[in-house]
Amino acid sequence: MVTLSIVVISLLASLATMARVAATLMISVVTGWFLGYAAAKSGMVERVFLSVTQTLESVPVITFFPIVLVFFISRIGGYLGVELAVDFLVFTAVVWNIWIGEYESIKTVAQSLEDVVNMYRLSFISKFTKLYIPVTIPRVAGNILVSFADALFYIVVSEVVTLGTRSYGVFGIGALIAGWTSEGEWVNAITALIVLIILVTVVVFLVLRPFVNWAVKYSYDPYVEVTRVGARRQTTSRLRASLSRNIRYVRRVMAVERATLPVFVRATGYSIYHRLAIRPRPVGILTKMERYVAIGVGLLILALVAYGIYSSWETTWLPILINIYNNWVTYLYYLGLDWLRVTIVTIASIAVAVPVNYLMVTRPRVEAILLPVLEDLASIPVSAYLPLVAVPFVTIMAIRLGLTASLELLVLIVAFLSTAWYVIYNMYVGMKTIPRSLWDVANNLNLSTWHKLTKLAIPGAMPATITGLASTVGSTWGGLEIAEYFQSINGKVYMVHGYTALMDYYTAVGNVVGLEAMSLILAVNVILVSIFLWRNLFALARRRYRMEGAITL
């Protein structure tokens, strides 16, 4: 029987989870103002800032969570330690995107606005409140939906973690659902899930949407005229008059076109094109002094790291290296398997996204129904309902496919569900922000659906898709991590051959050395992928697919 108390406790737990999300987003935003400002103003800070954020952006943080947890529990301990570990995890999942956005906004602030605050000698605080904070608002708004969904996903997973024989948890909806599921309290768990879904919907439609709407006024586009006031005077030249009339007409059409875009789409589109419009490499030029300081600080850090490794060589590093030496074939094989899964899921997401988005963009009625559903679905974390569906799904499918195949299927579906929404959403933003005139040309020339797709819709959506992929690959790994290894009610463990599954297993049995070894390999792998794959993809998107005139909010 569903009693009131279950609803109340679910609501409280959901609110606790939301409070964590809100707090981490808030901290990311506020710290980003000052870091972004420092990076935009000093060539040295900028170099460090860019290499750190660009590398860490596509890192699947969740896979490092056990290590973080061990650290926080051994250093701080108790409930506070777990709480901080959870918050830290979510912080590292959402912060990069927000920081990059804020830095780029401050970096590209209109020169004339900056001149104004200098000319009238605004105080440091006034400069921030009147200029540097407001300019970051559109980018924050553009990322808010994805950041919110990301944060929710990670927080729900991390609220309960078993490390060796001990289980650590904090009060929240993820912990609640997982707890009730493992006790077989299905009705309670489903009730809690419904409460969460309702709350997410409320937040998306009553908090995030109005926020994005409000953010529109913060975008700087000096030449847009929304309303035109004042009588027209006697014209001196017909040509001039008709020219200015036409320019105004075009501007108004573009303004109307933009105004009819859904608000999230406008905001996300702004973020994407703003990001692509910016040169990714630092432009601040180092002074001699800064160069010496940089070399000094760099050497100092190197020395500290070297000393750190040296002093803990026997106790920490040697066991890790021995572990890697003994198991490297297994590790690399599993890593390969997981990359294969990530690739399959990404391709599947794109394959689904193309027709769905084309339908949405070309058929208003499909769009009217699908888009709000997508916005909401994107924010409901798979991690919340996975514990509920995993065991029944595998049990039913195993009859037909056998256990291995059905587990594999589950892994792929969960990873797909963690990824697909973002891919669909980002590609949608890309297709939707293709200027109307290009669609008109395509229709005018009577292009076939195939040609419209290959010549217009897909290349037009490319920049948005690529920027989207960089931040969704983390979610795919998150999906793998929760689905490759899970426990049923009676403590029976289901797992597939996979990197994150092995990490989960090590976590469960408390093999900290193995865990550290695997995290180290993953870290190296992630950094290499970031440098060689994502940066090149971004460069490609900048070079080939940038569309002029799509950058206003």
Binding site: A110, N118, M119, Y120
Partner: protein, 254 residues
Amino acid sequence: MDISFSYRTERGPLHVLRNVSFTVYEKQYVSIVAPTGTGKTTLLRIIAGLRKPDSGKVLLMGEEVRGPTPKISMIFQDFALFPWLTALENVEVALLHKRLSKDERIKLARRYLELVGLGAFENYYPRELSGGMKQRVAIARALAAQPVLLLMDEPFANLDAITAEGLKSEIYNMVFNEESTVKAIVMVSHNLEEVIELSDRVIILGGRPATVISDVSIDLPRPRSPRDKEFQDYLDLLYGEISKSMELAGIAKT
């Protein structure tokens, strides 16, 4: 004033201005004319103290300008209004450094908005105003700082022809009236008709790095009309000077 300036780029210094020097006297409206990319805006920003020159200094009534100061106010090509502040709040920005009470500040800002004819629009955001009105807000802000010198960086370039015409006919009276503290104006432009219509003196820059090529006084009664013969004569004169400066730039390149 004697200014040299170069940009530090990743490919080494790029010399933009060399020994640019001129004096602006009280009650003078001076225009600087030069082809695009000559460094006009850079020169204005140096005069305003927003950039430091490599060598030379800017003197304002005998005192060196060492950094940005409200005594030198600037009007920008893109209006430079804060989109998140209303018209009134935008004007208030120029008064923040004065440590007035909030009421006084609002009162003063309102007075300047009325001066430019926008008294009824104080609560509008820039995006709700037309281009001409935006530039009026920017003028009100520049005047509210109570500057001695007013700088204008192609203030009419982003307005449609009709709006620009209306604002041009008013700007002289807006700036040089009893309420205003402005003693002189320096405007940058590449529209020669506009320059002759408004200025007392025209300074032509040219070459790379740019130097002062010529300094022409415009001696015509106001209001001036492009249809007058003398106006046309000045136009021909300026065109002549400019083509000379273009030739110079060509020589510098080869």
